[in-house]
C-alpha cells in the first residue's frame, strides 16, 4: 500500500485578476521507504502540490482532489487539530531557504524541542538528549553549544542541517524536501543530499525530493515525476526516465543537461512556462514542443499507460506503436 496517494489534485489561487490554477489534476504516489523526485521548472506547481498535502497553503488557495490519503488517512476531511497532530510528526517538510525558514528570535535548540514537546511525551531531559542525538545524526559538531545558537550565528548549510534535524525529530514516515539544496553552495549541496539519502536509508522513511536539478534526481531518486505548468507530464523510474523519456518535455530537459551535450552549444527549450493569462488550449507544452502539430494545439492530451511513463502527450516519444493510447 502506498504511503501517500493523491489522485487528481488541483489547487486554484484566487488572485486579483481572477483564479489561477497552480496545480492541475496531479497524481502522486509514494511507497514506504521510497524516494520520489518531483522535477520541473519554476512555476510548475511542485511546491504548491506538496504544501497542499501538508495543508500549509494560504487561505486564498482552493484545494480539490479525488483522493488524498496518507497511510490510509484521508487528508481532505481531516480537522485542523488532527492535521496538526500529523504534520511535523508523521509527515514533515523542509524548505528551500534555511536562513529564513528558522525563527530569528529563538535558539535552534528551542525550535527543535518545540516539535518534540508537541508530538512526543518526552520530558525535558529526554528532549535535550534527543536534540543532541539529532544534531549528531545530521552532522553538526559540538551539539551542546550549537543547540544554544541562534539561526543568524550559523551558516546556511548548518541551518539546513538544523531544519533536517527538526523535520526528522519525531521520526516521520514521509519527509518532503522542497528544493533543500537550491539556496546552498555547490559544495554543501552534495553534503546535504548525502545526508538526506543517508537518513532515508537509516530510518526507512519515504522521501519526496522537489528539485529542478536533473543531476540531483539521477543521484538520489528511485522514481521521478516531471511536472510542467501545474500538470504531471511523466512518471517513471529513474533509470527508465533517463534511458527512454516519453514526454518531449522530459526529453528536452535531459538534452539540456551539460553532461549529455554532444555539441558545443547546449540545447535549450525555447519560450517560458505559460502563466496565468497565456495558457494555451490543447497541450500546455505545445507552444514550446518541436513535435507539436494542430492536434496538440487544439485537443488536451490523454494520459498514456504506465509502460509509456503515464506521459501526458498525444505523440509520446520512444513508443512502440501498439502501446499508445488514442
Amino acid at each position: 500500500m502506498s504511503l501517500l496517494k493523491i489522485r487528481n489534485l488541483s489547487v486554484t489561487f484566487a488572485t486579483s485578476t481572477g483564479p489561477f490554477r497552480a496545480v492541475d489534476k496531479v497524481d502522486v504516489d509514494v511507497d514506504k521507504g521510497q524516494i520520489l523526485a518531483i522535477v520541473g521548472e519554476s512555476g510548475s506547481g511542485k511546491s504548491v502540490s506538496m504544501l497542499a498535502t501538508m495543508g500549509l497553503l494560504p487561505w486564498t488557495a482552493t484545494v480539490t482532489a479525488d483522493e488524498m490519503s496518507f497511510d490510509g488517512q484521508d487528508l481532505r476531511t481531516l480537522s485542523g487539530k488532527a492535521r496538526r497532530r500529523l504534520i511535523g510528526n508523521d509527515l514533515a517538510m523542509i524548505f528551500q531557504e534555511p536562513m529564513s525558514s528558522l525563527n530569528p528570535c529563538f535558539s535552534v535548540g528551542f525550535q527543535i524541542r518545540e516539535a518534540l514537546r508537541k508530538h512526543t511525551s518526552m520530558d525535558r531531559k529526554q528532549r535535550h538528549a534527543r536534540c543532541v542525538e539529532l544534531f549528531e545524526m545530521v552532522g553538526i559538531p559540538s551539539p551542546e553549544q550549537r543547540l544554544k545558537a541562534y539561526p543568524h550565528q550559523l551558516s546556511g548549510g548548518m541551518n539546513q542541517r538544523v531544519m533536517i534535524a527538526m523535520a526528522i525529530a519525531c521520526k516521520p514516515r514521509l519527509l518532503i524536501a522542497d528544493e533543500p539544496t537550491t539556496a546552498l553552495d555547490v559544495t554543501i549541496q552534495a553534503q546535504i543530499l548525502d545526508l538526506l539519502t543517508g537518513l532515508q536509508k537509516e530510518t526507512g522513511m519515504g522521501l519526496i525530493l522537489i528539485t529542478h536539478d536533473m543531476g540531483v534526481v539521477a543521484e538520489t531518486a528511485e522514481r521521478v515525476a516531471v511536472q510542467y505548468a501545474g500538470q504531471k507530464v511523466e512518471d517513471q523510474t529513474v533509470t527508465d526516465l533517463f534511458a527512454t523519456p516519453h514526454h518531449p518535455y522530459t526529453a528536452a530537459l535531459l538534452a539540456a543537461l551539460p553532461e549529455r551535450a554532444t555539441e558545443k552549444h547546449l540545447p535549450t527549450i525555447p519560450g517560458v512556462v505559460p502563466g496565468q493569462h497565456d495558457r494555451p488550449v490543447g497541450c500546455l507544452f505545445s507552444p514550446r514542443c518541436q513535435f507539436a502539430d494542430d492536434r496538440c494545439r487544439a485537443i488536451e492530451p490523454p494520459v498514456q499507460p504506465d509502460a509509456l511513463g503515464r506521459a501526458l502527450c498525444h505523440y509520446p516519444l520512444n513508443a512502440p506503436a501498439e502501446a499508445q493510447a488514442q
Binding site: 500549509l56 485542523g80 504534520i87 510528526n89 517538510m93 524548505f95 529564513s100 530569528p104 528570535c105 531544519m163
Partner: protein, 335 residues
C-alpha cells in the same frame, strides 16, 4: 550586551548637550521679558528693572548666561523658579509622580487592548473583526482629545455619576505624600475607601490619554503581524504542527514586537512629556499643566529645566526600548 549598552549611552552625551542648548534658546526666542511679567500690572521703575536684571544675570552676555546655566546643570542645579522661588528640581519631582502614574496607567491600557486587537485584526485580515478593530482605531485616533474627554465626563460623571470629574482623590481623604503615587499612598494611608477613590479618579483620564496610543499600537501591531505572518519561519512553525495560537502568539508576535515596542516607547515619551490637554481638562496636577503655565509666565528656569528633564526621561525610555530590542531578537544585539 555591555558594549551595546555603552554605545547607546555614548549617543546620550551629544543629545544631552543639544537639548540644554535648545531649551535655553527656545524660551529666549519667545517674545516677552520675564522681569516685566514679574512686575505685573503695576510696572516698575527703571532702576528696579536694572537691579532685577542684574540679579537674575540677564545683563550678562548670552554665552555667559548659557555657560552659567550649563555648569549649573552639571552640578545638579536647575535654578529656582522665578514665581515660587523653589528649586526647579523639587518642583519637577513633586509633580512628576502624578504624570507618571497617569502615563503608566494609560500605556498599560493602550498596550493591553491595542496589542491583542492588532494581533486579532492581522490573523482575521479582511474579515469583520479586522474591519471593526481598525475602523474603531481610526476613529479613536482622529477624535479631538478634548471633545472625547468632555464626552466621557458628561456620560460617566454627569449622567451616570460613576466617576468623579477632576482631581486625583476625593476631598474626604487626606494623607502624606510618601511616594507621590496616589494609588500607593492611598493604600499606605490605610483609610477605607481611599484607594477606591484614587482608582475612580484615575479611570477617565487614563482612558482619554490611552486613546491615541491605543489606536497607534493596534494599527502598528496589525501591520507588523501581517508582514511577519508571510515569513518563511511562520510556515516552518506551522509545518511543525503547532497550534495557531502558538504560531501567532509566540512565533509571529515576538518578531512583530520590534516595531510595536518602538511605538510604545515613543508613546511613553509623549505621554510623560505631559499630557497637556488631558491634565488641564481633568485638573490633574502633573508636569504638562505646570510647563504650560510656566511658559505663559516666562518662568525661564522652569521651562528650561522642565524641558531638559522631560528630554532626559524620553532619552532614558528610548534607551530602554533599544535594550529590549536586543532581548527580543538576538540578531539585533549582535549588530
Amino acid at each position: 550586551m555591555l558594549k551595546f549598552f555603552l554605545s547607546r549611552l555614548g549617543t546620550f552625551i551629544p543629545t544631552f548637550f543639544g537639548v540644554t542648548l535648545i531649551s535655553f534658546a527656545f524660551i529666549r526666542v519667545l517674545p516677552g521679558d520675564p522681569i516685566i511679567v514679574m512686575a505685573g500690572e503695576r510696572g516698575m521703575s527703571q532702576e528696579r528693572y536694572e537691579a532685577l536684571r542684574a540679579q537674575y544675570g540677564f545683563d550678562q552676555p548670552i554665552w555667559k548666561q548659557f555657560w552659567d546655566y550649563f555648569t549649573g546643570i552639571l552640578q545638579g542645579d536647575l535654578g529656582n523658579s522665578f514665581v515660587t522661588n523653589r528649586p526647579v528640581w523639587d518642583e519637577f519631582f513633586s509633580l512628576f509622580p502624578a504624570t507618571l502614574e497617569l502615563s503608566i496607567c494609560a500605556i498599560i491600557i493602550a498596550t493591553c487592548l491595542g496589542l491583542p486587537a492588532g494581533v486579532i485584526a492581522a490573523v482575521y485580515r479582511g474579515k469583520f473583526l479586522d474591519r471593526f478593530f481598525m475602523s474603531t482605531a481610526l476613529i479613536g485616533y482622529s477624535m479631538p482629545i478634548f471633545w472625547w474627554a468632555l464626552l466621557l465626563i458628561i456620560v460617566f460623571s454627569g449622567n451616570l455619576g460613576w466617576t468623579p470629574v477632576s482631581g486625583r482623590i476625593g476631598l474626604l481623604y487626606f494623607f502624606e505624600d510618601t511616594t507621590g503615587f496616589m494609588l500607593i499612598d492611598s493604600l499606605l494611608s490605610g483609610q477605607s475607601g481611599a484607594f477606591r477613590s484614587a482608582v475612580s479618579h484615575l479611570i477617565l483620564p487614563s482612558i482619554v490619554l490611552a486613546t491615541i496610543p491605543l489606536a497607534v499600537i493596534a494599527r502598528q501591531t496589525r501591520s507588523a503581524m501581517l508582514e511577519v505572518l508571510s515569513e518563511d519561519y511562520i510556515r516552518t512553525a506551522r509545518a511543525k504542527g503547532l497550534s495557531p495560537e502558538r504560531v501567532n502568539g509566540v512565533h509571529a508576535l515576538r518578531n512583530a514586537m520590534i516595531p510595536v515596542i518602538t511605538v510604545i516607547g515613543l508613546s511613553v515619551g509623549t505621554l510623560l512629556a505631559g499630557a497637556i490637554l488631558t491634565e488641564t481638562i481633568f485638573s490633574w496636577p502633573g508636569i504638562g499643566k505646570w510647563m504650560v503655565d510656566s511658559i505663559f509666565r516666562r518662568d525661564y528656569p522652569v521651562v528650561q529645566g522642565g524641558l531638559l528633564m522631560i528630554a532626559v526621561i524620553v532619552m532614558i525610555v528610548n534607551l530602554l526600548v533599544d535594550l529590549t530590542y536586543g532581548l527580543i531578537n538576538p540578531k539585533i544585539r549582535s549588530r
